[in-house]
């Protein structure tokens, strides 16, 4: 019964934007869902496996550029961008993972190395002709389903929602399965996990690759929605931080966390305009929220929810 109410509630919230008249509101809903996708993807590495990445923009950016280059250079259908980015994001995750975990990096060192990888990619994207350097890539406007460009935001929202359902489903599947249990074990305590037969490098690398692959999908949607990508949008620190904040504030390691975190973050962003309408004020509040969460709610909003449901 309780479960049915929760499911009905979630469905209602998720479907509400289709009834909105205002494109502005639908756009917010779409961005929230996109943040949730990225947060959920970050969560697979940072939440389950406690690989606190500060450079997940690397995956987002690689996804965005893969899709953009495929269609502007080789004229391939943008729909192909989804699987292609999924693969490049996954490969990059595998590459970073193998290098880092073989070298035994974890904690702050891992955070630093991911940050540096994102920075390397940003500099490369900024200076190579292949990516059109600092100019960025414009996707020619050609609306239509076949071209993955929609003239109303509802359609984009529908796609992102589908992606969120998919990512969340995968996260749930991982969490409940053998791989997820071993990933969580490796994240919690490396010695204990390896004593129980968990291959740390392999488990964590697959975790990071999966996380990277789904993060890259978000990059494709971003490109197709805004029809433009440049090095700082794609690989900037802000992007990495956004994903981390969404997952940490909502509750890292939980399934509902990234979704709750995305809603909380965008709610803060939208209401903050009414108080101080200056660039920077909303992210300022995000940072403050993160501090409050670390200090008082280490398990995030989802942890709070768990406490209420038990009470």
């Amino acid at each position: 019964m309780k479960r049915a109410i929760v499911i009905a509630g979630i469905t209602a919230v998720a479907l509400a934007p289709f009834a909105f008249n205002s494109q502005y509101l639908v756009n917010i809903a779409m961005l929230t869902a996109l943040s949730a996708v990225m947060g959920q993807a970050w969560n697979i590495a940072g939440g389950f496996g406690q690989m606190t990445s500060f450079g997940h923009a690397a995956f987002f950016g690689v996804g965005a550029y893969t899709a953009a280059i495929l269609q502007t250079r080789w004229g391939l259908s943008p729909w192909l961008g989804l699987p292609a980015s999924f693969v490049t994001g996954g490969l990059l995750g595998g590459f970073i993972g193998i290098l880092s975990f073989r070298a035994g990096l974890r904690g702050s060192y891992f955070a630093l190395v991911t940050l540096a990888f994102a920075e390397v990619l940003r500099v490369l994207a900024n200076s190579l002709d292949f990516t059109r350097g600092g100019l960025g890539i414009n996707i020619p406007l050609k609306q239509g389903l076949a071209n993955f460009q929609f003239h109303n935001r509802q359609s984009t929202y529908a796609l992102v929602l589908l992606m969120l359902v998919l990512t969340t489903g995968v996260a749930m599947f991982i969490k409940r399965g053998r791989f997820g249990a071993r990933l969580v074990a490796a994240g919690e305590n490396e010695d204990a996990a390896s004593a129980l037969g968990v291959d740390l490098v392999r488990t964590k690398t697959i975790g990071l690759a999966t996380s990277g692959a789904f993060t890259a999908l978000a990059g494709v949607v971003y490109t197709q929605t805004y029809l433009y990508i440049d090095p700082s949008i794609a690989f900037g620190v802000e992007r990495s931080i956004e994903m981390l904040l969404v997952a940490m504030i909502g509750g890292a390691g939980t399934i509902a966390g990234p979704i709750l975190g995305a809603i909380a973050l965008h709610a803060v962003a939208e209401t903050s305009h009414f108080f101080i309408d200056a660039p920077g004020f909303a992210p300022l509040l995000y940072g403050a929220t993160l501090l409050v969460i670390i200090g008082f709610l280490p398990r995030g909003i989802a942890g709070l929810g768990a406490r209420w449901s038990r009470a």
């Binding site: 969580v184 204990a192 390896s194 004593a195 129980l196 037969g197």
Partner: protein, 244 residues
């Protein structure tokens, strides 16, 4: 079952383990004892693959496992517990044990069934669905053993599973270790609680300053002058004799 030859390890200026030979017969309970700083835990860590030895060999059931990674050694059939218990705090007790079960079992449902049955058997039944962090010390020690046992090992290394327990709890753990042995698992344990060592083990190795100084049955060990000296200090054996 386990054969250790000439095992040595230096840390900087300290010779932590020196030419250690150990033999553990299949199906036996064998103890490794010695005063503080004797190198017992380091020896364990080398056998289980957590530290690479400078020299020497480790054979498990005839297979040379020297220098293998811990997870490969676990897969080869040797599991260990930790002196300082290391539960996965985000998981329940049953989920903790299931991480061990997953080594030999791919299906989540089957792994959970096995984990719960091992948990029940080792006296964790009422706590199976609690967060692992909420266990008492005795509970954590049981969880350590249950998790290792769930990997279906041929051989189990127990590192001070009785430290910090009261006498009643110690007696329960003794029974539990015996029952695991009766299921065909060979056991090597490090222990400070001597009553337990005497009651449990068939063979004892005594380590002092990184080297094996004596070995034998509990009776032989209790009366070996070298052991009394290692524990009570120089000249102790002689004085004990005098007073006796």
């Amino acid at each position: 079952m386990l054969e250790v030859r000439k095992l040595s390890k230096r840390f900087g200026g300290l010779q932590a383990v020196r030419d250690v030979d150990l033999d553990v017969a299949a199906g036996s309970i064998t103890a490794l004892i010695g005063p503080n700083g004797a190198g017992k835990t380091t020896t364990f860590a080398i056998i289980a693959g957590f530290i690479k030895p400078d020299d020497g060999r480790v054979r498990l059931a005839g297979q040379d496992v020297t220098g293998w990674r811990p997870d490969r050694i676990a897969a080869a059939g040797m599991a260990r517990t930790f002196q300082i218990t290391q539960p996965f705090a985000a998981l329940t007790v049953a989920e903790n044990i299931r991480v061990g079960s997953y080594l030999r079992c791919r299906s989540p449902a089957e792994a959970m069934r096995r984990a719960r049955s091992i948990g029940e058997e080792l006296g964790l039944g009422p706590q199976l669905d609690l967060a692992a962090g909420a266990l008492t010390v005795a509970g954590r020690k049981r969880l350590e053993i249950a998790r290792a046992f769930a990997t279906l090992p041929k051989m189990l290394l127990l590192d001070e599973v009785m430290a910090g327990l009261n006498p009643t709890e110690i007696n329960e753990i003794i029974g539990l270790i015996r029952s695991i042995r009766d299921r065909g698992v060979t056991i090597l344990l490090i222990e400070h609680v001597m009553q337990a060592v005497a009651a449990l083990s068939e063979h004892i190795f005594v380590l002092a300053e990184g080297a094996v100084i004596a070995q034998g049955s509990p009776q032989e060990i209790a009366n070996a002058p070298a052991v009394i000296e290692a524990y009570l200090g120089k000249g102790a054996a002689e004085r004990m004799q005098r007073h006796a």
